[in-house]
Amino acid sequence: MSKLVEVKNLCVDYITFNGRVRAVSDVSFHINQGEILGLAGESGCGKSTIAYSLMRLHRPPALISEGSIEFEGRDVLAMDDDQLREFRWKETSMVFQSAMNCLNPVKTIEYQFWDIFDAHGLVSSRDESIEKAKELLRIVDIPTERLFDYPHQFSGGMRQRVVIAMALALKPKLLIMDEPTTALDVVVQREILQKVYQLKEQFGFSILFITHDLSLMVELCDRIGIMYSGKLVELAPAKQILSQPLHPYAHGLGDSFPTLHGELQEMKGIPGTPLDLQNVPPGCRFAPRCFKATAACREQEPQLLQANEQRWVACLEPLKIASQAQQPEPLTQSHSEPSETTCAEAL
């Protein structure tokens, strides 16, 4: 499989009155062609910021300060406005968190499809646009006579499907889904995700799927990355992340869902609250909430290291798994972080 997107050492800062706040810090990953990559983590951990950065939709005060994003070998960060306009929606499109807010309430669905097609010069007449829009509605199982309705006439689940149809309008190679089903109930959520998977198989695009519902993600994704406070702390094949987590945070997340089957036992969740990014303490960012934290964890910051063939983890005291034989080796060169020297010495 070839790489579609490659993100290297991405750092995104927000400029505030109290100085720079690093929302995404030194994150590297790639998305293969036809793959579903999941990003999980708590609110404020930087997962949506990454999604916006991939399309360069971030606006000041957000700023990509370091790193690179390559899309099929092209540098996304170097694109000018015209190239960006071509790139957005045609190559990468996005389904936003609440479908209720991203459709224009005073225009019909038909107009909003026309807007997309017209802006990208894909159709020559309004009739052609209507034909294409109807075809897209058919793909997401919405009756075509609903094309001339306004957004408020649809239910939440249908609106989300309309938004997915719009995201697929220009046959993008990457679909970014930022908490696409959080506002929907479980039955509608499953129907929509089954549809998305089916469309992915049909058209062969890749998906970056962002949510905090880890159990949903395990069902849908191929690989999952877990983020904490702007750092990627673990990257693993989906099925292994709950059954054999390496990072204590991934373990804690897995322990936060009450189960439907099996014995009912009291769960602990993860004590404490997420880190305030305005004053990041030295050492591992998860250390204050971690049950395995040692004195070393509070001093040196762990780097994302390869644990075995498919798995990466950023932890000084990773949990053990049965097949952990290989010696960790660095995945990326670390950037000008204050802890770099101590970390290099430790390695």
Binding site: V186, V187, E219, L220, S256, L260, L264, M267, P271, T273
Partner: protein
């Protein structure tokens, strides 16, 4: 003698009495039905109604929790709004300690009822006033409902309240504004407020759905503590059936304002019999399952808008096992096993 053999020696009557004294009945809803007026289709057309709830019964007992589960628009929140007297039931009524709440009209009676029945809202980001400190939010109910004056005694009480809900250091938290707290902490402040007022019944309307997963369990554990140790009665409204299993003793599955299956949580979640309950459980994300498993439903239409004129089972249009009589009339409730009820033509 262990408890199992002891209880088998007691007659049913005595067992019931023991249950009643251990978990006294606080709030009871009987045949709760509510109709909302719709906009008329034409100026001179007939009045049209939407039936949001149809014959809902539940009993809230001190130290126990009832969960209301169902999809959006099924009437879960409406029932809590009737219990807080925001809406008035068209038929049926709610009884608080044996008294119909519609007969509470004197202001002292109303104040007492509102003091003892409190609601916790879904969105902790908009339910606290952003312009006031946590101290203000907790002081006001004490001043209004308990006529306490700010001072040293009040301060000690506030610190004790915040410590109870796990917000420490309490003195610092008191001076913070809501925006300085995380979602889970804000929901804890809200629970502290219900404790400050002295609520006996807490109607929790999706209290954890806006919180991060890692924090959700903490809030559920706190509510569990309030239930077991302080003997509060809970109505837990949610669409997350897994957390309902974790927190509630009894569960009611609602569809379109109708109770379709209800009983003890373990019986309903481990042995679901109604096709809708089976659908709900099949849709819950489960890492051990695959996304490709087909849901046991046929999506022939959206959830119907129920009106008083409608007949039959509301789920008939989506039910894969629907029969001819399903659209004729609503089946009577049937007890499948002790404490597990169902309303379905398959079990008549």
């Amino acid at each position: 003698m262990n408890t199992a053999t002891q209880s088998s020696l007691l007659s049913d009557q005595e067992q019931k009495q023991q249950f009643d004294s251990q978990y006294p009945l606080v709030l009871e809803a009987k045949n709760l039905t509510i109709d909302f007026r719709k906009k008329r289709s034409s100026l001179f057309g007939p009045k049209e109604y939407l039936r949001a709830l149809n014959g809902l019964d539940f009993q809230l007992r001190a130290g126990r929790c009832v969960a209301l589960v169902g999809e959006s628009g099924c009437g879960k929140s409406t029932s809590a709004k009737i219990a807080t007297k925001i809406h008035k039931a068209s038929e049926g009524a709610i009884y608080y300690k044996g008294e119909n709440i519609d007969t509470l009209t004197r202001s002292e009676q109303l104040a007492e009822y509102r003091r003892e029945v409190q609601m916790v809202f879904q969105d902790p980001f908009s339910s606290l006033n952003p312009l006031h400190t946590i101290r203000y939010h907790l002081q006001r109910p004490l001043q209004i409902h308990h006529q306490l004056k700010p001072g040293k005694a009040m301060d000690e009480m506030l610190v004790e309240l915040l410590t109870k809900v796990g917000l420490t250091p309490a003195k610092e938290v008191l001076e913070k504004f809501p925006h300085q707290l995380s979602g889970g902490q804000r929901q804890r402040v809200f629970l502290a407020k219900t404790l400050a007022i002295g609520a006996e019944v807490i109607l929790a309307d999706e209290p954890t759905s806006m919180l991060d997963v890692s924090i959700r369990i903490g809030v559920l554990n706190l509510m569990n503590e309030m239930k077991h140790e302080m003997g509060k009665a809970f109505l837990y409204i949610t669409h997350d059936i897994a957390t309902a299993r974790y927190f509630a003793e009894d569960i009611i599955v609602l569809y379109c304002g109708h109770m379709v299956e209800w009983g003890s949580t373990e019986a309903v979640t481990q042995n679901p019999q109604h096709p809708y309950t089976q659908l709900l459980l099949a849709a819950v994300p489960d890492p051990s399952r695959s996304i490709h498993e087909k849901l046991p439903t046929q999506r022939s239409m959206e959830t119907p808008m129920w009106s008083p004129e409608h007949k039959g089972c509301p789920y008939a249009a989506r039910c894969p096992k629907a029969m001819a009589q399903c659209s004729q009339g609503l089946p009577e409730p049937k007890e499948l096993e002790p404490g597990h009820f169902i309303r379905c033509h398959l079990f008549v």
